[in-house]
């Protein structure tokens, strides 16, 4: 039985930081199986988590100073919430892992402690039927586990509540920036080339920078200021952030010299780009529903595409008439 330390090393922290920036993120995992924290006996609680190393590290760190069994499921390096959505943090894998690790011989009790966000993949009554183990969905956050254990394994209201504060949102932004860079950099290059052919180098650089700024607004500014932006729709929140960005650009980057066509195009296209990227942030939250996002996409994507098309028309018409 591997015994693990509950203290994180510098290497663990560097690894987590790199994963936040998308470096080695899909390969940041630990082998699944049963681990011992401290010196657990046959009565010690069994905590279940995913094999994403960041999840594993958060849990073992939270359980520092305690004697606990940690059952790590094979989720292919994906966190509990996303793996539950995919079903890899699921009934089948949990039952399989219980059998494979010989948990029934290691502990005398038949109780497992699962994260609440894992419930989307695990059917507690089926696990009970198939393995004899009873499931308690304990807390949303790993950091509440000590409180849960000290509270006689009873979940309080606060342990059940999701939150999405400034830090929770900001910490998600680096990897989002890295992920959008792949499609956005070639798009910016294409835009630069097209604008260069039509208007010359200076205008091309301005257009490409304005576009990159709109992407940044949608990916980083929209999510960071999420609760301050108006309406519940992510598309509208993003469009609003993009509109503010464009107004700021107009004020600070000599907007009065842009000319009518370019100004109109900027105020149409830049908010559309920001809107699209803030809408993409729905996947990073834990409160948007599939039906809601579908509705936003059905209504929002045609408007965004229309705005981009109109912006293009204005620019081309402006060029032809000039």
């Amino acid at each position: 039985m591997p015994q693990i330390s509950a203290t994180l090393t510098l290497a663990d922290r560097v690894g987590a930081c790199k994963a936040r920036w998308g470096i080695n993120r899909m390969n940041f995992l630990v082998p699944p199986g049963l681990y011992a924290i401290g010196e657990p006996d046959a009565q010690a609680p069994v905590v279940v988590t995913a094999n994403y190393k960041m999840s594993f590290d958060l849990v073992r760190q939270a359980l520092s100073g305690r004697d606990v069994w940690l059952l790590v499921l094979e989720t292919y390096g994906i966190n509990v919430w996303c793996a539950a959505g995919k079903g890899t943090f699921g009934t089948g894998e949990l039952v399989r892992r219980i059998e494979k690790s010989g948990l029934a011989e290691v502990v005398a009790h038949r109780r497992l402690i699962l994260p609440i966000l894992g419930a989307a993949g695990v059917a507690a009554h089926r696990v009970k039927q198939r393995s004899g183990f009873e499931i308690a969905y304990a807390t949303v956050r790993a950091s509440d586990l000590p409180g849960y254990l000290d509270n006689g394994c009873v979940t309080t209201k606060a342990m059940r509540e999701l939150r999405f504060n400034w830090y929770d949102r900001l910490v998600l932004i680096p990897v989002e920036l890295v992920l959008v860079a792949k499609p956005v950099v070639p798009a910016a290059a294409l835009l630069y080339l097209a604008a260069w052919l039509l208007f010359g180098a200076a205008a091309a650089a301005a257009a490409a920078c304005a576009f990159l700024g709109a992407v940044f607004t949608g990916v980083a500014v929209g999510p960071a200021f999420l609760p301050l932006l108006p309406t519940r729709s992510f598309a509208i929140k993003g469009a609003f952030a993009g509109l503010l960005y464009c107004a700021l650009l107009y004020a600070l980057a000599g907007g009065e010299k842009w000319g009518g066509a370019a100004t109109l195009a900027a105020f149409l296209a830049l908010p559309a780009v920001s809107s699209f990227y803030t809408l993409n942030f729905t996947g990073c939250t834990t409160y948007t529903s599939k039906s809601g996002v579908k509705k936003e996409m059905r209504l929002g994507l045609p408007v965004m595409a229309g705005a981009l098309f109109a912006a293009l028309l204005f620019v081309v018409a402006g060029r032809l008439l000039a």
Binding site: C82, A84, A119, E161, G283, C284, S289, K290, V293, M297
Partner: protein
């Protein structure tokens, strides 16, 4: 969720109260406090807070809950759509692997 609400009137969550045995599992798994137990049976106290994760329906021992479960993720849906339409270069990993 404190400080955050998503669109109203879109969630597909349905509770068949006559089937409910009042075990309270739904109140335990729902991270948005959508359910409450009243007179030994579950009620939808706040259906609009539902994010359609499907945890309640999956964990309901008597199948009293129905929801079109999925992930509310725009890029995931776009990637899925592009894959279905077999656009080249979109077979790979999305944001969440």
């Amino acid at each position: 969720m404190k400080g955050f609400r998503y669109l109203e009137g879109v969630a597909t969550l349905e509770l068949e109260r006559s089937l409910c045995v009042g075990c309270g599992r739904c109140t335990e798994v729902c991270p948005h406090q959508v359910f409450r137990i009243e007179q030994k049976k579950a009620v939808l106290a706040d259906g609009d807070a539902c994010m359609e994760c499907g945890a309640c329906a999956l964990n309901c021992p008597v199948a009293a809950l129905k929801v079109d479960a999925g992930v509310g993720c725009a890029s995931g849906m776009i990637n899925e759509w592009l894959r279905e339409k077999k656009f080249p270069g979109f077979g790979g990993a999305g944001g969440c692997g």
